[in-house]
Symmetry: C2
Subunit: 254 residues, 2 copies
DNA sequence: TATACAGATTTACGTAACGTCAATGTCAAT
DNA sequence: ATTGACATTGACGTTACGTAAATCTGTATA
């Protein structure tokens, strides 16, 4: 049997545009072109199309399908396993996304005001997560594993009230820091209050507070541009100022 | 504080291209353009960008983000809930995809030959699933719910051996049907053997076989072009031939 | 001061897999 | 001869930018 684009499209359940596209990219070329320039497909093409659609159903890219169905020696099973890995990763990513959206919805439905800073908190948390790998190892080496591990656990088990409180504290740290920054004196009363608020804020996610860890984190705020950007957003130099204040507060600097 | 593209990009962790694109689509326009044509952003733009990135993290499209952050009266919570629905649907789809890929991998690793027809079986199954809504109701009305419900359950609990057997049977039905078709006689020995093989094949997924259901299905093969296309792929008219053979086989036609 | 170099600009192509016109040619039937 | 169904080749639109290319601006240095 010979088929024209429309006929083949009908029995395969795809559009003629798709068939012409597959021809264009070399995925499925017609058996021949008749005198009028029409594409004519034969049985071999029908079979090949079935294979193509099969892999397409599995979400394999046309590029990969081309390799699979074109090269007879190509390892289709291996390609499928790789595809499988990608799908799993995609699902993981999607799960995280859904969890975040759900968390956000819960917050808004709990009528907790989503102030800009609050939103930024979540965003910042993500930055922290992203760099867990980089800084996590350092912190683990310096202050032990539990500081890190408990942080996540604690955050997960946090109630809405606690979340609101930590957010409020975070805002207060920023406000106090900015006010203190204007004084220019990291040893002054305002600066030391900012450092103390920062300790309180920290204690929500870190279960074992130590001066050393606190001072180390302050230094990190200056070393990592992403943290610096956060604290320096309104007042450049505020991150370094906060570090100085904390160093004095913790007594880690004479 | 005022920021140029690069500075803003750095503190926000995005590229300058992204900022120019957001300007282009009207998502985030700079506070002003200086005498050299440079984009200058202010504090308000920083805040707005943070909001934008927040929603972007949640996978919301830029178009939707624009509505959320532009219209102050826009219901952001509702938009989020709709987005949530979409994400859940996406995950469901992904789960199905993963299951299918895993099934395929299991089959190939079990070294069951993936003949073209076998692949087509899976494809056809998908067509059947897609039209469960349409035909499911008809069949339920005619032959009761359990025929449908058990079908899925049975398929899921099927072993590899059983799967191979049903596939082999499916192939045999097709081959016998084609041979019978050439005789042109639906009452002939070959045609009746095809009908019997078809009954066996059917019994794998339908737990309660009845002549009426068998005959009804045969008629559906002719009425629904998708089934017709499958049986008619090599020999147009084969679907109708099979129906006639089955009607005679079941005695539903004098 | 000339030059280098970083950083800014606009323009425009590329991405994946087609959908959707638009303009035009072919085939069979009336 | 006309009509209507079906074929063809462009070519733009889709998403959210990446990636040049060509050109201008601002600042530091030899």
């Amino acid at each position: 049997m010979e088929y024209t684009v429309q006929k083949l499209g009908q029995i395969a359940g795809i559009s003629t545009r798709t068939l012409r596209y597959y021809d264009e990219v070399g995925l499925l070329k017609p058996a021949r072109i008749n005198s009028s320039g029409y594409r004519i497909y034969g049985q071999a093409e029908v079979d090949r199309l079935q294979q193509i659609l099969f892999y397409r159903e599995l979400g394999v890219s046309l590029e990969s399908i081309k390799e699979i169905v074109t090269a007879p020696a190509f390892d289709g099973a291996k390609a499928l396993r790789e595809h499988h890995e990608k799908l799993l990763a995609k699902r993981e990513q999607l799960n995280l996304l859904i969890a975040n959206v759900e968390k956000t919805i819960a917050l808004t439905e709990g009528r907790i005001t989503m102030s800009d800073l609050e939103k930024f908190e979540g965003f910042k948390q993500k930055l922290i997560d992203d760099n867990e790998e980089k800084y996590g190892q350092e912190i683990r080496a310096k202050y032990g594993d539990e500081a890190i591990d408990r942080s996540n656990a604690k955050l997960k088990g946090m109630s809405q009230e606690q979340y609101a409180e930590i957010t409020r504290l975070g805002n207060e740290v920023i406000e106090t820091l900015h006010a203190a920054f204007k004084t220019g004196n990291p040893a002054g009363e305002l600066a030391q209050r900012a450092a103390d608020l920062h300790r309180q804020w920290l204690s929500f996610s870190w279960d074992s507070y130590t001066k050393e860890a606190h001072a180390g984190l302050a230094q990190m705020y200056v070393d990592d541009e992403r943290f610096t950007a956060y604290y320096d957003a309104k007042h450049p130099g505020a991150a370094a100022f906060l570090r100085d204040a904390i160093l004095l507060y913790t007594g880690m600097k004479a």
